[in-house]
């Protein structure tokens, strides 16, 4: 027990468990379906942000292809869980061996995550030795490749058209549980032996090499975990929205996720979670303002794009004043631990 309390992760994980439960209680207290919808998607975004932090935060490499892995998870789990009848209707040219498969959606989501991790393991191994601009550009190119394949491969993905007919199984509870598991994985990885070595390669790759850190394999391991969580998040999202198109996994969404973890602070798991909460709540709030203004009598013209403009301006101001994000180096658990020690001493 004492060992557990002294653990670096204990306070942070407990903090987020409490936070998630508070959000859950507030939701059941409010009892509105719109609110529940927003909170459920928020939990999916937390999984995405924590997943991206595992690779991007610990290795320091900007990773554009991430949302592409989310799309692989969404499409593959949707394909597995879609009822056989719907398949004949949505995907007429589907390969025969896939036509008769229809499994339990939650198992499909997990298989989707594993499948995404395998794809990521194959695709990214050769890219892991690149750094600086070359690494950024290859991951951007990888996003384009994945997007182009999803748009082009009509037999499996219904091409650029909407992919629909996925059963709606993601509930608030399910998203919250997965989200909490993602948070635990994030903290454990960051403070594990491998996470520490990976952070060493981020801060100085030559010095880390000299003490025996194998940069390529460390990054590869992190990117596989990242992709797994992206796949899970994609699956959950797909089974909540139930219909989507390749446009849902492209540049705009990529930058939404990246801005979440940069605004929160990409070096800390705490930062990525709070970044996800802030950016997503801001995004939804502005959407709501847009809608209210549209139906008010004062403004006669339409206000498409206001959300994006305001969010982008806030983001620029934020990055100028706080380029390392809200939680630059210290996790929330460390702060709590210090406070507790202080109080117990007095």
């Amino acid at each position: 027990m004492i060992k557990l309390i002294n653990n670096d992760n204990f306070y942070s994980i407990t903090f987020f468990l409490v936070l998630f439960l508070i959000i859950y209680l507030v939701n059941s207290f409010v009892g509105s379906t719109i609110f529940e919808r927003i909170v459920t998607i928020l939990f999916v975004y937390i999984i995405l942000a924590v997943g991206l932090q595992i690779f991007m935060g610990n290795s320091g490499i900007l990773f554009f292809a991430y949302i592409g892995f989310m799309s692989i998870g969404a499409y593959s789990s949707g394909l597995l869980s879609m009822p056989v009848k719907m398949k004949g209707f949505v995907l007429r040219d589907l390969y025969p061996f896939l036509q008769t498969i229809s499994i339990d959606p939650i198992i499909a989501i997990i298989i989707g995550g594993l499948f995404t991790a395998i794809i990521a393991a194959i695709l990214t191994l050769p890219l892991m030795r690149l750094k600086d601009a070359a690494a950024v550009i290859t991951s951007f190119a990888l996003l384009m490749v994945i997007h182009s394949i999803i748009v082009g491969w009509s037999a499996v993905t219904n091409g650029p058209r909407t992919f629909f007919g996925i059963p709606k199984v993601t509930t608030l509870e399910l998203a919250m549980i997965f989200s909490f598991v993602a948070v635990i994985i994030g903290f454990i990885f960051k403070n594990s032996h491998l996470g520490l070595l990976l952070r060493a390669t981020r801060d100085n790759d030559i010095a880390a090499d000299s003490i025996g850190a194998n940069t390529v394999y460390l990054r590869w391991f992190a990117v596989i975990i990242s992709a797994f969580l992206a796949g899970i998040a994609g699956g959950l999202w797909g089974h909540f929205i139930t219909s989507f198109s390749p446009k849902s996994f492209y540049l705009k969404e990529t930058f939404l996720i990246i801005s979440m973890i940069v605004i929160g602070g990409s070096y800390t798991v705490t930062g990525s979670i709070f970044g996800a909460i802030l950016v997503y709540v801001g995004h939804e709030g502005l959407r709501w303002v847009e809608k209210v203004m549209k139906f008010s009598d004062y403004i006669t013209f339409e206000l498409v794009g206001l959300t994006e403009v305001v969010l982008a301006i806030i983001m620029i101001i934020f990055l100028i004043t706080k380029p390392k994000g809200l939680f630059a180096f210290r996790e929330i658990g460390d702060t709590i631990k210090k406070k507790i020690i202080k109080i117990s001493r007095t």
Partner: protein
């Protein structure tokens, strides 16, 4: 047939080369991709559209629109790059993308999500016969304009002080600063020239499309981006060469590939980009290794 092919590659390649040149100038010095680069085409297009109803002659309209894209390019530097440049690479990429988002959505919010016509003189789309090949006049214009631009640009980089400073900054930025070259001046003038090249490229691009819409910037950005990587991301010659190679690949695919594989053209092109960075990071024609911040 072969002459037609060569002609197509030359006219498209010259346009691609212009776009790539504007991007590589910034990349060479800062080692950062300017994600707002494509929006310069958008700025040009909407300036033309807004001027379209006024009695201003077409030539001056174009000049004003090019000037607008130069101004926006310089403000990209002031708003998105300068404040965060020293602090974090990731931050700059996001601010430049945020700036692009602002421009796109401003067009959406203030003008319209629907495509708008851009005035173009009618002789651009007339066809003429040249060496037995029938081609629109705009193709010949783009080849001529590009070669004039390249010549002027080359002389400028070679002979002027600021050109020399830019070449030095692209080789080793910190060393250049230590020798007393003002960094901000070099960077701002690189952005200005980048905007000028994008504006001229946009004129030629618009002569083909003849309309403008909020998402117009993506394709020029991707073209410039791929061409720059093929050329090695540092040298100006490389970017021009990359532009022509990309046009060759694009048109070659159009001629050779059947329709249902053509859908995956982007996947092939970007796989090619990844392979170049893995196998020959210095680009196809060599030069110093790329992507390391000095």
């Amino acid at each position: 047939m072969i002459l037609q092919f060569i002609f197509d590659v030359l006219s498209l390649g010259s346009l691609y080369a212009l776009f790539a040149l504007g991007l590589v100038l910034i990349f060479g010095i800062l080692k950062l991709v300017n994600f707002a680069y494509g929006e310069l085409v958008l700025v040009f297009g909407y300036s033309m559209f807004l001027l379209g109803d006024t009695p201003v002659p077409w030539f001056f309209m174009t000049l004003i629109a090019i000037l607008m894209s130069v101004l926006i390019s310089i403000s990209t530097d002031y708003i998105a790059f300068r404040p965060v440049r020293e602090k974090s690479i990731t931050a700059v990429l996001i601010t430049s993308f945020a700036f692009a988002t602002i421009l796109q959505n401003a067009a959406l919010l203030l003008i319209s999500p629907r495509p708008k016509n851009v005035p173009m003189p009618s002789f651009f789309s007339d066809s003429i016969q040249f060496l037995g090949v029938i081609t629109p006049v705009r193709n010949i214009i783009s080849i001529i304009v590009t070669f004039i631009c390249l010549f002027i640009f080359y002389q400028f980089m070679k002979r002027s002080h600021i050109g020399l400073a830019m070449r030095a900054a692209a080789t080793n930025f910190n060393m250049t600063r230590m020798l007393g070259i003002p960094a901000n001046l070099v960077i701002t003038s690189a952005f200005a020239i980048s905007g000028l090249l994008a504006g001229i490229g946009a004129t030629l691009w618009m002569s083909k499309l003849a309309n403008v819409f909020p998402g117009i910037g993506l394709e020029p950005l991707l073209i410039a981006f791929i061409a720059t990587v093929i050329g090695g991301m540092r040298s100006v010659q490389g970017a021009v060469f990359g532009g022509f190679i990309l046009a060759f690949i694009d048109i070659g695919f159009n001629y050779l590939l059947p329709q249902d594989i053509l859908k995956f053209r982007d996947a092939f092109t970007f796989t090619f980009v990844i392979l170049i960075l893995l196998i020959r990071p210095q680009g196809l024609i060599g030069g110093p290794a790329t992507g390391i911040r000095t």
